[in-house]
């Protein structure tokens, strides 16, 4: 009731930090257990959540653990015992969770975790790049990348909605500092609206003395193989289900999302592709270039796991040049997103020339002017090598 009064029964328009927007998104999903450890630039999220728990605005058990590994492990225990849970992390924290990330998906436990994208040392660096989450692409978690705080807030609600149906965990990414530490005007849904969209978490089986079951027992090869195969099969259905979620969400909240979001792509000769807040910068550059008469477009990648290859092929099959802007790199190979796109287009006869640009690591700034320059000189970009700008 208190939450209703404070935030109103209706959707409201508010100015807030990206981190606070996320905390409100989490509050609206009513996790019964939150467990977290601070790490820059995620820290504000959990600070705001602890205040909400303290004031009673959010009724939740908040476990202030001693490490990120314990943060996600506590969520594993909480979800196994039947509670919706939440955690947030970044960078080294996410790396420390790696083992438990596998365990979570392998155990088919739903969870939503926000990761504020940040570089990994050495050398120490607290600024934004996406190598932390992109290097977790094989752990069986869904990955959503957000361009704005509004998108992040909405994605959290959508992520719980999806995660609990497919029984796989979802990671929602925001670019550290760029989204977490800047103010944005956004629409805050009311608790009533979110309750109507997101049903309470009621798992079919959980740790229950009345119906005792063993969770995560050892499994020999045949069973192990089948269980892992089932994750792959679920990942394939996740895309369709999430698309349904977008439609339902749009009907209720009026904001629509997609796995991949094209901007000015219809007649574009050069299309940029990137994930996260960088899309905003590229959007500005595309607008300028369009005004100057250049046929430039952008495809924003929201869903990274499962990789929406088919959707990208539909969108980009006729495009001449695709310039992929990566904020992460797989050393010895290519920019992570570029690698994925090349793999997706491998079987296609008609495919764009894919240029792999490593544009920013460790917070290296990207300006619209740089994007403009790349667009105008796209034909000169090497088709085979990674291009490091700057």
């Amino acid at each position: 009731m208190q939450a209703e009064l404070k935030h109103g029964a209706r959707e409201s328009r508010e100015m807030m930090l990206g981190s606070d927007a996320i905390a409100h998104g989490v509050r609206l999903c009513r996790p019964a257990v939150i467990s977290a450890y601070p790490i820059t630039p995620q820290t504000h999220i959990i600070e705001t959540l602890s205040e909400m728990v303290d004031t009673g605005e959010l009724q939740s058990q908040f476990i202030k653990v001693e490490s990120e590994m314990s943060a996600i492990a506590a969520c594993l225990g909480a979800v196994s015992a039947g509670s919706r849970s939440f955690t947030a992390t970044s960078s080294h924290g996410l790396a420390m969770m790696h083992e438990i990330l596998h365990w979570f998906s392998g155990a088919r436990m739903p969870l939503v975790m926000v990761n504020a994208n940040r570089a990994l040392g050495a050398p120490w660096n607290i600024w934004c790049d996406q190598s932390d989450s992109m290097s977790q692409r094989d752990v069986g978690w869904l990955q959503l990348y957000c361009e704005t705080a509004q998108e992040a807030l909405d994605s959290i609600i959508l992520a719980y909605w999806l995660s609990e149906q497919i029984m796989l965990p979802v990671m929602v990414m925001i670019d550290g500092f760029i989204l977490s530490h800047t103010m944005e005007q956004l629409l805050l849904p009311s608790q009533r609206e979110v309750d109507a969209f997101l049903p309470p978490y009621r798992p079919a089986i959980f740790l229950d003395p009345e119906n005792p079951k063993t969770f995560c027992a050892a499994a020999a090869a045949d069973n192990f193989y089948q269980l892992k195969k089932a994750i792959a099969a679920t990942m394939e259905t996740a895309e369709t289900l999430l698309a349904e979620g977008y439609a339902l969400f749009a009907g209720r909240f009026g904001r629509s999302y997609g796995h991949v979001e094209p901007y000015c792509c219809d007649d574009a000769e050069v299309v940029f592709c990137c994930a996260g807040a960088l899309s905003g910068t590229v959007r500005v550059a595309v607008d300028q270039l369009r005004q100057e008469g250049h046929r430039i477009g952008l495809v924003k990648l929201r869903l990274f796991r499962p990789f929406p290859g088919a959707a990208l092929i539909r969108l980009l099959a006729g495009t001449k040049r695709l310039v992929v802007l990566n904020r992460s790199v797989s050393f010895g190979a290519a920019g992570t997103i570029a690698q994925e796109l090349r793999a997706a287009f491998y079987r296609e006869d008609c495919r764009p020339q894919i240029h792999d640009v490593i544009i920013s690591l460790g917070g290296k700034e990207v300006f619209p002017a740089t994007i403009r320059e790349i667009a105008l000189r796209a034909a000169e970009l090497s088709p085979t090598e990674s291009i490091w700008i700057g």
Binding site: A32, S70, A78, S80, A81, T214, A217
Partner: protein, 287 residues
């Protein structure tokens, strides 16, 4: 003595322990005391195998297998989840080996103890990494043979004093126990069950292959560990001081304990003399 122990089995026969395994015997009785309203959290250890492989389980209480380093964190989550749902009357118990407690799990254990999380943490201590084939852990006693201390002569590392470490966290309950003394063992589990907050039990659990003893010898050797003072039976009193819950009429020489086990073959006489003095010093500290 007549024991009031249920005939219900929560760890059923057909489990996968080696014959004479002290850990499985301990768990069987611990669960009898705690009863069916118990959730067990199990990090990597021998018991992960003993419990059985998918799709069967030797446990008839809910069991959550968890990654090695995370038992105390996972148990915190289980308890908070029950709290959030308003579920009362369920015991949450971590059942971890010495590796999962003394070594890789120590950080999570410390975190949960310091937060006074409400569950029972049991360490069944077989004094090495037995599940991977008998490698030294920080619970391995001085001079014991393992596959990573092949000579068994290294006296430079003392067994880590996990009881002192946990005591420093001011737990709600703290005790050592050994299934060779079942009345003491079960009384301690009863007290732990009936309290709330962070409760810790350290069990010495004989391991026939790891200790190089016959599988019929586990209880006999376990008893020697207590009678010689190598593993004193302790409990925290109301002032939070540790006191002995069992004092033999006279302490046996530690040599009796060492000589009964193949793993201590490398100990020289002067080592045994040294360890005798050490043991006496430690026992004296408990008054």
């Amino acid at each position: 003595m007549l024991w009031n122990v249920t005939t219900t089995e929560y760890l059923t026969s057909g489990h996968m322990a080696c014959p004479g395994c002290g850990a499985s015997l301990s768990l069987r009785h611990a669960l009898k005391v705690l009863g069916g309203q118990t959730i067990v959290v199990l990090p990597a250890c021998c018991m992960s195998i003993i419990a059985g492989a998918f799709p069967s389980s030797a446990f008839s209480v809910p069991l959550l297998h968890v990654p090695f380093a995370t038992a105390a964190a996972c148990a915190s989550g289980v308890r908070r989840s029950l709290l959030a749902q308003g579920k009362k009357g369920v015991s949450v118990m971590v059942w971890a080996g010495d590796g999962g407690t003394f070594d890789i799990g120590l950080q999570a254990l410390s975190g949960a103890a310091e937060r006074h999380e409400d569950f029972i943490y049991v360490c069944y201590d077989n004094e090495a990494y037995m599940n991977t084939g008998i490698q030294r852990s920080s619970a391995t006693p001085q001079g014991a043979w393992t596959t990573t201390t092949p000579a068994g002569k290294e006296l430079q590392y003392e067994k880590k004093d996990v009881i002192a470490i946990v005591k420093a966290h001011a737990p709600a309950y703290l005790a050592t126990a050994n299934i060779a003394y079942p009345d003491d063992f079960m009384a301690k589990f009863e007290r732990a069950r009936d309290l709330s907050g962070f409760r810790f039990l350290h069990l010495l659990s004989a391991c026939p292959p790891g200790w190089k003893i016959d599988s019929s010898e586990a209880l006999h050797i376990s008893r020697l560990a207590v009678e010689t003072g190598i593993f004193p039976l302790l409990e925290q009193d109301e002032e939070k001081n540790l006191r002995l819950t069992y004092v033999p009429q006279s302490w046996l020489p530690v040599a009796a304990y060492f000589q009964a086990q193949g793993r201590f073959k490398g100990l020289a006489e002067e080592d045994i003399d040294f360890l005798q003095q050490e043991t006496e010093r430690k026992i004296a500290a408990y008054g």
